[in-house]
């Protein structure tokens, strides 16, 4: 089925459709929030009306959480070993046995109003990668709406780096294009098309030979990233039926960022590491790579929605009738952890960033609607993907609340009769003990986090390393405040049709101020 030719393929929200389709899509938009709120309100109601059953549910849920943590910890540990192995591997030697000179790496750096130093750091990292620079095309994708200062930065970057790569292009995405949402998706789509017109076609470069890496402007590629990516590209059966997902580290400014920011950022890294070992559950996230041929066939990233990084996977999955997957390359790229001049602003930015990521729930109605329309995808695949994705967003918004806040509800709401049962007395002890055992997994996360830390800058105090280890006690707090609540916030907005726009995470470097 040529699903990418249907009017449903580029739907951004229910209002893009009409009639019955619009109703169905709207219902699917309501689904994630309804499930999450249903769980939370259901637990509260059950605690009031049937506290014994609510207590049974909470005990069962706590045990489920413990088992899930244990199961996921095994995946995390394995991926930790795999990343260390991949970082130690000589990818130059591995690709030397392959024919890869025909490949071109097209790296798109979407740029808004970030400081010159942020862009320079990414450019320097690209320059330092061990890959033939003549086979690299850099596209600095700027925004017209960013103003003159951004144009000056673009020019400065172009002047400094244009002659150091095989191809260099600065694009300026026009502001206010009808049908587009201002954001990364519309910008990099424009940049990709401009690259085709100005780089690929004039140089007769086959689209199938171009690997596009859609980075963030602060994405710092490790030295052998493109060699590793190339090896993976050449070793999959069909590189046009897969996307390539690195592991996002947030190490660029890890020594400057506050503990809160480090913990939240590293938690995202760990989740991606776990998903790397469960590729059937993996969708692209943040910086990712994909063949230009695939992108061109479907018209690049969607321009009318926020979560273009994950949506591109669902676009391709539906376009290829389910014959599309993500290859987890278990090789890192590094980005900025949230950091602002003031702590409160940092916390606010973390919340907003995670709400934007959680807005990825907008892919649920897109995916489910696509599954209803595209019957060429095997039913089992559609069912499995639906369960995995819906459960993922439901877990994000509800599990931390159930574990850390709602566990005591039957005791509070259960009434005199329930409160005289031994179950009511044991419930807090059982939940607390299960939680403590679950939290033992934090030791593993602390060890993994420390193992990937960049060298401590000389200006940092000796005790900074100690704080890096002890910071994990913040997890019960961060998982609720910067996990569940923004998740619920985003799902509630989607449920009520209060659609979010793209919020650019500000990048800030302390050194610049000193």
């Amino acid at each position: 089925m040529n699903y990418h030719l249907t009017p449903y393929f580029r739907v951004g929200r229910a209002s893009d459709l009409s009639g019955k389709d619009r109703l169905i899509y709207r219902a699917l938009e309501i689904l994630p929030g309804a499930l999450s709120w249903g769980t939370i309100l259901g637990t509260i109601m059950a605690s009031f009306f049937v506290p014994v059953w609510a207590a049974y549910f909470i005990i069962a849920f706590d045990l489920y959480w413990l088992m899930k943590n244990g199961y996921l910890a095994i995946h995390l540990r394995h991926n930790w070993k795999r990343i260390k192995h991949n970082l130690a591997t000589d990818w130059a030697e591995r690709v030397s046995h392959l024919k890869y000179e025909h490949l071109l790496h097209l790296i798109i750096l979407p740029f808004y109003k970030e400081d010159l130093s942020v862009v320079e750091e990414s450019m320097e990292a690209l320059l330092n990668t061990e890959y033939d620079k003549n086979r690299m095309a850099i596209v600095l994708a700027s925004e017209e709406s960013a103003g003159d200062e951004a144009s000056l930065i673009s020019k400065a970057i172009e002047d400094k780096y244009a002659d150091k790569f095989g191809h260099f292009l600065v694009t300026k995405h026009p502001a206010g294009t009808p049908g587009e949402m201002a954001g990364k998706g519309s910008n990099i789509s424009y940049a990709a098309e401009q690259s085709r017109v100005k780089i690929l076609d004039p140089n007769n470069i086959s689209y199938g030979d171009v690997i596009v890496s859609a980075f963030d402007v602060d994405t710092v590629a490790y030295k052998q990233y493109f060699l590793c990516l190339t090896w993976n590209f050449l070793n999959v059966s069909d590189p046009h039926k897969v996307s390539f997902q690195p592991v996002p580290f947030y190490n660029n400014n890890v020594w400057e960022a506050p503990a809160l920011s480090r913990v939240v950022a590293a938690s995202s890294t760990f989740w991606q590491m776990i998903q790397q070992e469960r590729p059937e559950k993996l969708a692209t996230f943040s910086s990712h790579s994909v063949s230009f041929k695939s992108l061109y066939e479907i018209g690049y990233w969607q321009k009318n929605m926020v979560s273009e990084d994950s949506r591109i996977f669902w676009n391709l999955f539906l376009a290829r009738d389910g014959d599309y997957s993500v290859v987890p390359i278990s090789y890192p790229v590094s980005m900025d952890a949230n950091l602002a001049p003031k702590f409160f602003q940092t916390a606010k930015n973390i919340y907003k960033q995670h709400r934007r990521w959680s807005w990825g729930a907008e892919n649920i109605p897109y995916m489910l609607f696509g599954f209803l329309k595209n019957k060429s995808i095997p039913f089992r695949t559609r069912l499995r993907m639906s369960i995995v994705q819906v459960e993922g967003f439901w877990s994000l918004a509800t599990n931390p609340l159930l574990i850390f806040l709602l566990g005591w509800l039957p005791v509070v709401l259960g009434g005199v009769s329930f409160n005289s049962t031994i179950l009511s007395y044991n419930l807090p002890f059982v939940t607390r003990n299960l939680m403590i055992v679950s939290m033992l997994g934090l030791v593993l996360t602390a060890i993994i986090f420390m193992s990937f830390l960049p060298p401590k800058p000389l200006r940092e105090k000796k005790r900074s390393r100690f704080y890096m280890g002890i910071q994990w006690i913040l997890v019960p707090f961060t998982i609720v405040v910067f996990g569940a609540i923004p998740g619920l916030d985003a799902q509630t907005r989607l449920m009520f049709g209060k659609y979010m726009g793209f919020w650019v995470t500000p990048k800030y470097r302390k050194e610049k101020q000193q």
Binding site: I59, L63, Y71, H78, H85, Y425
Partner: protein, 295 residues
Amino acid sequence: MKPLSIQKRRIYFTLFALAFIVGIPILILYSTGYRLNSALNIIRTGGLYISVPYSGVSVFVNDQIVRQTSVFQKNVFVQNLRPESYTIRVEKDGLQLWSKELIVSPQTVTEAYSFLLPEAALFIEITEFVEVATTSQATTTPRTTPPPKPQKNALYTDIMNLFVSTSTTATNIKATTTEDIKIKRKLSVENRNGTLVVSWEGDISAIPHYFCVASECKEEIVINTGSPVKTFDFFPGRDDLVIVTISQGVYVFEIDDRSAQNFQLLKLGQGIDFRVKSNDSIYIKDGLKLYSVSL
């Protein structure tokens, strides 16, 4: 290095799923009081919850100490108890003993709220007059400071008035009266010809635990004071204790009659009386002398 193989992941998944399936009934049975006895039979147990007002207090169940309370944990929860009768004793040097015989029911926590008055409470006399120093004024000629002049103590007058006033009730005034009924949080205590009878006037679902044994709740509890009650009131900060004046003196009785009601002496003496003010202070009147009680 290859990703975690699907076979390994399935094995791990199966192991964790099995642990979950096995763990659920074990945890729920444990939480609801089921235990294995020495003969490996499953039995239903219950528990005791004893509230203790102070730290450093020893709590005994059947003469075995189960805990010494601390600043952070004053209340004691004991579980794994077979359903039968238990004697609880709560004691600390310098405080009067509290003990109770309670029946533990299966899968239920039997609650008890102890109280421990000092063996010798401190009585601070409120004098009728207080000495008020006069302030000397600066003058050009030196003068000697006059001796303090006794003045009527306003607190004495206020408290003494409480022993005179009979016009208000416990629900809308802040002091004890000699009225026959007092109500606190829907708990009514009535003085019927010298006998205190307690009843619950609220919703049955919120009835205090000591009215009920298993699912049977009684309508009234009689406080067995031994001799006729002259005056009574709720003990400050508690609605399960009453202070009473009987012929021998002022005592504190608990309402809970699941076994013999505990009572503790506050002040011995004939002809003495007490008042509670603002639900936090106790005053004793002995003749023309007034005392505030420090517990």
